[in-house]
Amino acid sequence: MNALSARKPVFAALAALFLLCGGTAFAQKAADRLLAYEAAISSGNPAAAVAFLKDREAFNLAAADDVKGPALLGKAEALKDLRDLLAMPWDKEKANKLNGALSIRIDADKPLAKVGVGPEPEKLLLWLEKYQPSYPRTKKAVVRTAIRQWEIVFGTMTDLREMSWDQAKTWQGRGVTVTKGSWGSMVLSERNAVIAQLMKQDQAFIIYNDQVLAAKKDSVALQASVDKVKSRLTPEQLAQLSGKPLADQAYLLGNFFDGGAAKGDSDLARIHAARDSLPKEVLPAQQRDLLGGMMGPAVSKELAGTKAGQKVLAFYAKEGPLRIEVRPLDGKYSAYDPATRTIVLNSETIQQYMRVKGYTADSVMRSPAQVAEIAKYMSPVVVYSSAHHMQDSWARKQGVYKPHVQEDEIEAMSLEGLYTSEKLRKDKVFRNIMASSRGFSSYATKRVDIATEFSASGSKRFAVTVRQRYFSGLPSLDAAASQVLGAVSDELARRSALSVQQRAQNDTVNLTLQEAMEMTPEELAGSAGEIRTDALAKIERDLSALGVYKSRYAAAERNSRKALKTIKTSASAKTAAPPAL
């Protein structure tokens, strides 16, 4: 059941106006409809928002007003985005993901707050009751957890929580108090900050952070593996481990069982994957430079002959060589660096693979076979990051403001999924590498998961997966546009009261268009007050025409799906999904 079919109209007038599109109500003058849209959208009506966005005549009429038009568009996009977000299948396992998604949408000065959804998170519950009354109780319960309702977090027996905040300790009388009342006025990021502090004092609160939960689970598994492997040690080796923290123990075990790789031993594989690199396994700068240079041709060889790979290679044939750099990336597996137009691979991900395989920095430098193997292993994320390069290139050519949004990730992950699923079918060595790595590497697990999900699900379902599981904390295009438009239109309205001279004077110290174009939607929305008027107007124009962006995403989606169909129906493919690993 989707959001629209689930919705029970509350107000008869609105129902007549927005749900009977094509009937007599719709035949009203555009100006009348616009007035009705404005009123309904201001009260948070998502159906009105969707209807307005589809009503070209009223939309164009609104757009004619430089100040009110973008503001209304921002609110409408925000409501549509919220409706779409909550229409996704949320269960209690995904409550923290939903929290991340809501945190970037429901906040002070966000467009949703202007239509009554926020900044206090509980206003979302009222909105749900009003506009989505038929949502099941389970989904509403997930929403209550996601917004960190006081009763969910602290229970119903107390209205007050005394707590330490790092060095502000309650026992010294300099801690702080949180009351149910103050909780009610906190936005989600503030509630999460409080919970993060409580996590340090009470393990029960770690259920509110998926990363911490996963790390805890990994740590328990690692401890079990370390304990098992200890039985194989000599007394001297055991003495070296004695009294050391788990990280040191894993590191020393890596040294004891070094060089021979894991060889099918799951405990050793887990230890090698989790531990720090031994000195000889670290890729220093000069070797990273060499490896990066070797990876370009090696990865290109991997990409050749695959649908997604051909697309990437065609792009680089036209737009310059595929340049790859290897360096630490703060937890990301790969990235596209727009400043240098280079794809960066995380040296730590490569070193993890080397540890499990028993490779050293020197052995990799000496062995074309090991370089080729690493290139094969990392090739999916080269495809993924190439998609970001293509997006950046498109935006430069179009000259439009290009926020980083979920749709970018859907496109990039689709291309990667297409590539990996084809490689899993056609390339036995690739399949074996991924199969043998999945047990210890979240990198390999994610690559295979993405391929499987892309191949097995339709485009809409895959998009939902990307939005929910992988990038819930990133705004959708609608959300980004709505937030920027809301802030920009407010600022332009404020400036319209200034004299031309005042505006010109302010613009001499404000941020330039180039500086604004490099900002994230969050930064832009927060900094609209210090951006030059012409830059604001340009960005407002860009984001008022989302069709330009959406048609690009849609074309990329069609291409990937078409290619997938070809792969599935090709003679070499016997199954619809990649082989089970």
Partner: protein
Amino acid sequence: MRRILLVTFAAVAALTMGLKAQDVSFDSLYKDLPQPVAAAPAAAPVAAAPQGQAAPAAEREWLVLVFINGVNDLGILGFANKSINDMEKIGSTDRVAVVVEYGIMGQDGSDARNLQFQRGSKTIYVTRDNDTGRITSLPFYASNDGDMGSAANLVRFVKRAARRYPARHTAVVIWNHGAGRLGIAYDDVTKNHMEIDQLGRALGQVRQFLGRKLDIFATDACLMQMAGVAYEFKDSAEVVVGSEEVIPGDSYPYDAFLGPLAANPGMNAEQLGALMVDAYAAYYSGDNITLSALRTSALPGFVGRLNNWVEAVRADPKAFKAAASRAAAVATQNFSMKDSKDLYDYLGNVNDMLAKSPGVKAAGADLRDYIEGALIIKDSASPSLPNAHGLAIYIPALRYNSANYEKLLFSRDSLWDDFLREAMQARLDPNL
């Protein structure tokens, strides 16, 4: 000692990062936390709507920019307010502009100490007042975003202030928790912080914007005066001021150096850097503190001499054994982050362990002389830290943190990372 990395980092990040982070024992840093001596109440900041924006004023001698991230325990404890009030004791003049970007969380001042969030950040042109309990300088800009852990936000702040208050000399200070090579400016609400390489790139943008180096880049945050950290700023600032050890809650005594600067705005970067060190040492005469100012133009020469020392050690097995030994590391002055050790002291200890090895001894002595005579403009340490000489360096006990250290320019340009890897390889020998 209060300006130390958060329990957030210790507990949450350690869990989330699993074994990828070195095990810095942050918890142990909290044991001796004193209460602030005269912390001002954490009054709610001035309500801030963007004010009418000033046109660029006539060029001053100095623009002092302080980026105060009090979105953490430091804000709650009143230290951020205290620092701004210290600046307001002096204020700006027609020759020196003091501009602050601040985000502060705190409590409402009631007996219950109800938690309060500021939301967003504010930029103030600091004006003089006699009220040490409230921030009275008016904001000329307020951002809803206000991520105080964002390097991009820092850059925007510098641009915002420098466009309005142009000056011949510019100093930038970051006020927050510091964790040396691991980063600075931890915002508890956004969960963001600045990695050192990020900060280096941000200051590179600042240099590009200004068309010249910053005159001073200072960290009013613990543990930041490390070779690998300072080197990241070598092309962005003339003078780097920071502390090898933790910085007490009261922070820099801003009035103690802004006052003399206002009286003598013609001082240059090195003079102001030295003044900051002296003022700090005078303010904290009884505490375990360090502060130093170093000359970034001397960093290439420093790296050259450090590389000479590494090459000499590599060529001398006995010297390498001594330099890589636990004994040399243990004997060296360390700070609250245990793998951060005083380089000058370490070189002396290695030399003391060597019977012969003239090449290594000469290289070590040369490097020590260069640190003392060319690199460090001024340094100060409490009598309780006699072996602190103004510059710390990363020397792990067992595991080399490649995910962090290999990101630094220092690892690319110096042989120190190579030495560390070789030393850590030697440490795997239980008999060493």
